[in-house]
């Protein structure tokens, strides 16, 4: 409630694609005029202090405190700790910009993002400020994400879980901006290369694709990439704790590869009129270095196998952490460093092998993926397609190896297409963008194959795949615009980053309350039922209360 309008709309000036808009204004803060950037941030910090003294703000807070994390804790307990309520969003803030006097030790201990130490003891369930702080600063263990979340992207919270932030409010924009947004750049960047191939490939010359389509998409992709990168950079600056939680998230971690892969896509798909035919090797070095560092980190975790061993973490989005090698190999071949490309191809194939076999085995330890198909399964197509393209780029011929990978991708594509319940029953999310680039990669491999084996069938297949991928990217583009600017539902509250660090901490309070009522088990189960009911029924009510109250069109501004 207090600092919940953290939107920064610097994106407004950064292009026609991504319009990040205004902060939500609830009834107790609607008097604040629209401000921008850091000014808004400072203003909100002040607002938070003011709101603590306004009677209406206090009343609102009491209502809200029955939901979300502190649901069920008696109002007195919460009202007595104003610092706790104020910390609701600020606990994800970058620590150095906030209260420096508090608990610098755990931050310093954890700032190295040492994933190996993620199995620490759970915080003792206390309600005090320092306990809460500690519980946030310590990284969430991998098993906790699987225990508390569900869905193929691990982005939905299980019913039995409480989360740290109030679910009835709309959170600050930056907190709701997930790393998955780089998927948009992946989708557009790969389209750039596809249309470059379509316009330049001899196999596709019968289409007479003009080269300016490539140029147009390239600029669109560039603008998107810059916008998303800037926004996420702001998130990193202001909400470092939230970024760290995304980094520890078993699915999201793979999306940290997306920015660099997007850049490589843009470097590969740059229009010939703008870029030299052979970019400088420094481009490759600059773009691949972060990928390499991430790989050393993530593959090392698999290998040394603490809590984040492959057999537990493997999910289709793990392909994202492998495919970067093949994209990097293509770029290496483009800049003329063939041996570096072969190096990347070798890394990629070794780890692709592990990921492929692990995912196909569907070990009993990885039970989190539902059996329904989902766009995330498209990731299966990405890696063999990219491996095929990379081999062709490095060794200069579409030989048996490249064909084998291309055909594997083709079979997996077929295997997914024949399943009818493909896009059924899943609500749109920005992560879907990531699932378009595999299809684009497959169509690029099909074009290469059609160059090698120029038959009607292969050309038709290449054309068909290209059309499918472009159609899907177009429809996603429209969907994104609709969700973003018309329905304002592109960025819902990012519940996945706000799970409590341990189940224990949230239920401790309940037990204490139940104990007070003298008849623990019965009271507790009754209480739990009440809580479930409250969570499900109260939240829409209070949201309605907020949104239907005053300035109801404000809701549109939260994207």
């Amino acid at each position: 409630m207090v600092p919940n309008g953290e939107a920064s709309h610097k994106g407004k000036s950064s292009g026609e694609f991504l319009q990040i808009q205004l902060p939500p204004h609830h009834n107790f803060s609607r008097q604040v005029s629209l401000e921008t950037g850091f000014a808004a941030l400072n203003a909100e910090a002040n607002r938070g202090k003011n709101a603590a003294f306004s009677p209406r703000g206090a009343k609102d807070r009491r209502i809200l405190s029955r939901n979300g994390k502190s649901l069920g804790i008696t109002t007195g307990a919460v009202a007595g700790a104003d610092g706790v309520r104020k910390g609701d969003f600020s606990m994800f803030r970058t620590k150095s910009t906030l209260h420096k006097q508090l608990s610098m030790l755990p931050i310093r201990k954890e700032s190295g993002l040492d994933l190996q130490n993620a199995d620490g003891s759970s915080a003792g369930g206390g309600g005090g400020e320092s306990g809460r702080e500690e519980s946030i600063n310590q990284s969430v263990p991998a098993g906790r994400y699987f225990a508390a979340l569900r869905g193929p992207e691990l982005d939905e919270v299980k019913d039995s879980e409480d989360i740290l932030l109030p679910t009835d409010q709309i959170w600050p924009f930056l907190l709701r901006f997930p790393i998955n947004c780089f998927g948009i750049c992946l989708g557009l960047g790969s389209q750039t290369i596809l249309w470059q191939s379509l316009s330049t490939s001899p196999a596709m010359s019968f289409l007479h694709i003009p080269p300016y389509i490539n140029t147009a998409i390239w600029f669109l992709a560039l603008v998107t990439l810059v916008s998303v990168s800037l926004t996420y950079a702001l998130k990193t600056a202001f909400f470092l704790e939230a970024v760290r939680r995304e980094y520890f998230h078993p699915v999201r971690i793979n999306f940290f590869f997306a920015p660099w892969i997007s850049c490589m896509f843009l470097a590969i798909g740059a229009p010939p009129s703008l870029a030299p035919a052979r970019p400088h090797p420094a481009v490759w070095c600059a773009l691949f270095a972060p990928v390499f560092v991430l790989e050393l980190k993530i593959y090392g975790q698999w290998l040394s196998g603490g809590k984040r061993r492959l057999c537990k973490l493997a999910n289709p989005s793990s392909h994202l952490s492998v495919v970067g090698n093949f994209v990097g190999a293509v770029l290496a071949a483009r800049v003329g460093w063939g041996e570096a490309g072969k190096f990347l191809w070798a890394i990629g194939i070794a780890h692709y092998l592990c990921v492929f076999v692990t995912l196909y085995q569907r070990l009993p330890t990885s039970q989190t993926l539902p059996k329904e198909l989902h766009p995330v399964y498209c990731m299966f197509i990405a890696t063999p397609s990219a491996a095929s393209l990379a081999w062709n780029a490095i060794y200069g011929e579409f030989d048996a190896v490249a064909r084998t990978f291309y055909f594997i991708a083709l079979f997996l594509y077929t295997s997914l297409i024949v399943r009818i319940n493909f896009f059924r029953g899943f609500k749109f999310s920005v992560a879907w963008w990531s699932y378009t680039f595999p299809m684009t990669t497959a169509s690029m491999a099909a074009i290469k194959y059609a160059e090698e084996v120029p038959t009607i069938l292969s050309k038709g297949l290449a054309l068909g795949l290209a059309l499918i991928s472009s159609a899907i990217v177009s429809s996603l583009f429209i969907s994104t615009l609709l969700h973003g600017f018309v329905w304002c539902s592109l960025f819902p509250n990012d519940l996945a980053i706000a799970i409590s660090r341990s189940k224990h901490s949230s239920s401790a309070a309940n037990i204490r309350i139940a104990k007070d009522k003298k008849s623990a088990p019965a009271a507790r189960s009754r209480y739990d039922n009440l809580r479930r009911w409250a969570k499900k029924s109260l939240i829409p009510t209070t949201i309605d209360h907020h949104s239907s109250g005053h300035d109801s069109d404000d809701k549109r501004c939260t994207i």
Copy 2:
């Protein structure tokens, strides 16, 4: 008991190989004269009604009802539900040919063979007609097969399990005719190709094998294939439910590939005097289409990973579902569609990789295979041999890839040969035929290798392997004839398809009985001991009672 003579001896006219003979005649139905085909079927349905009124039949039924599924249920309960007893075999009948008025809904729901839905709720243990029907119509979940069956082929019922059909009778012939019989076609079909190679390969020219051996085996294989196919088609027509249960069986499902692989073997091994050197591509399309559909289904199950994930289902017979790709690739190369062959090779190698690693790891989730060696382990040799042959056929040279796979097969062969307890302690079954074609494939690969590296050692190895495989096929052929026509034990009751859908349903009745006796645990354990004893001791008795009664030479007719 009543409709238990469902033998159809149309096989009698279909060649000298497969003589399917007469139905068993028990003492209460021996007055019925031998009839054929549909006439017999109709007659039996009538007989069932008549038998219900004959006092001797009723008495027999009371005796029998102490065994099999309903063992232990008081006679009154069974005698009160004549429909249940009559349904004993008819519940595996194709539903549309029987009582159409009953429960069409579950059939329609399940007719798509939707394996994903196989985890439904267990039937409630009731004894009524509709409950039984439902329990049959719903597909048996994969875990149930592992829980109730044992042995490397999952064809033996654990002692603690009851089965739905009476074990003391000889079931209708079609119910006892398993899909494994196509293994005979696999074994003979691969011999066809082997002898074709022996007679035409330059490396083997020193043997001067006449080409007519190939022709003779080819015709034998053709006749066998037609006979088995027709019989199984009849089974599909009359006992669709039994076929569906085989389809859901974790081991048997792989044998559904066998018919098409056999056809491809015959197409590849066709004598040059009869067939053109390059068959029409339509042959390949027609034969590989069903394999491709099955693969999409089965690999998709592995990938999407419901209850039938690879880490649970993997067993040596899973190789059968992979090897089809390589055989198809050889045929594709034969018809001149090299690219299609490469496509199949790529599919095959990707999934072979998964199966190979999974089987070598021996995950703790796949604990069903006993540690003793068994013919089923021969399947390990099949896939690398076929991969080697396919690569040679597609790319035209026995290069490093083909050699690597050939040598892997050779090592696995050695690894199996050095184990002395190879063929020990397992009784002959028709499934053994499937385990001959891997050896044949290995010897074909050895011949190709001997062509490439014509040394004494390689030629001797090829000759030795060819001799071993032919010797084994010959001995199996004789064994099959002996078991089929002399010992009449080729097709025992196929217990694997008659397990109850859930453990619960069969024990519910026992609990009810035990409850009546007021002292549940003690009574139940005493009761269980009695049941075990009855199952073991009573069954031979009643079988003896039947067979030693009248017309004891009828036993020979049940194959």
Copy 3:
């Protein structure tokens, strides 16, 4: 107690490297002057008898009996069974050389080293001689090793475990001489080949390495190999039971490949001045035959998957059981048998695949490896490097396959190097030698690559890797000398071979004792605490008592 000084220092004459020295002298035998060889052995046997009658010896024994295996058993019970105490070391003796009248049956039953039968029933926990004998003769099941031991080399005993031999004494030298010592031969043998490559490779010609360095190292390695082999042969002759326990140890079993791989290293790295350029194929046959037999055994265990299935046994040292194939392939190419080399390469790659994927997945069944890095992880580098070298040797070119494996090795090397806690917190052991040869292999592959791609970077990399590996080998050599001859701590008591066969047997005695005290649970837990404390505190005390007593420089003689 009596035959506990089984040291044999025949090594004294076998070179300057391995000086195996004198038996331990405890306070009750410190009056015996230093003797050598079998004389010492006999002397000790006599000494043992004398000590049994000396009052001080008896007192000492009573003190000692409170530690080790019999800790906590009342002195009377032990003192009453002198045979038990006498058997402490003799139970690991080769049975035929000892009391032949006793229990020949189990030896004969087990002498085939039939690992499949290793899951037999546990000995009944009796304290008698025959029960103890049986418990030793039966092989220890694989799970037991994992349950009782810890550390990446499974060489440390968990606190809760008792071991069969007294931990406060220094055991006979041969009992303390582990199979891991062949790692020294691996490290020196691979250095031989490295310096041969450095002196002959055109890519490294700018270094002007004289060939006599190769010769010097080769002789050093040869002497080491002969010494270690002779010592281990003596161990096999006198302590066959201990060797069998090493054979059943999940990590040590892989070291049984080390002697033969060392021999192959020496055959490959023989100085050109001494050996013909192309050795006789019989050399390859003689050296590879044992490896092949071991492989058939071990891979067969993985495949048939009893208790020793791959998913349970896989650990980084499993690479040792795979790398032999590639070294054998290099040797096969050297002797001119290219096809045999391809055969080995195929075996190697198939099983490397399984090991690599299994280790990368880190299945939950293999939880024994700590997450800290350890020299044992260097083994990851060995196999791809060797595969690359072998492919180059067999097929004559460093093509895409060889490069892919070389680059995989390079990435894994990088992945290990960037982890800072690499050599931290682990005390030196002779097993570290095994972890040097992967680096040497990697640098050999780098030299081959530098020959193929002669750039500054590749040559520099090759030189750097060669320097690293030589530096590590040198420092290990010095460490070994220091530990061996100065600090006398090279061969500590080899606790891993002395775990009890089942947890039950050791605690049974305690239960019996506790029962006597009438208040079983409380007494037992108090008793256990006492036992733990005694184990931790008493042992150093008594050791100090021994060593600080008289002739404290005797300690140096135990190596």
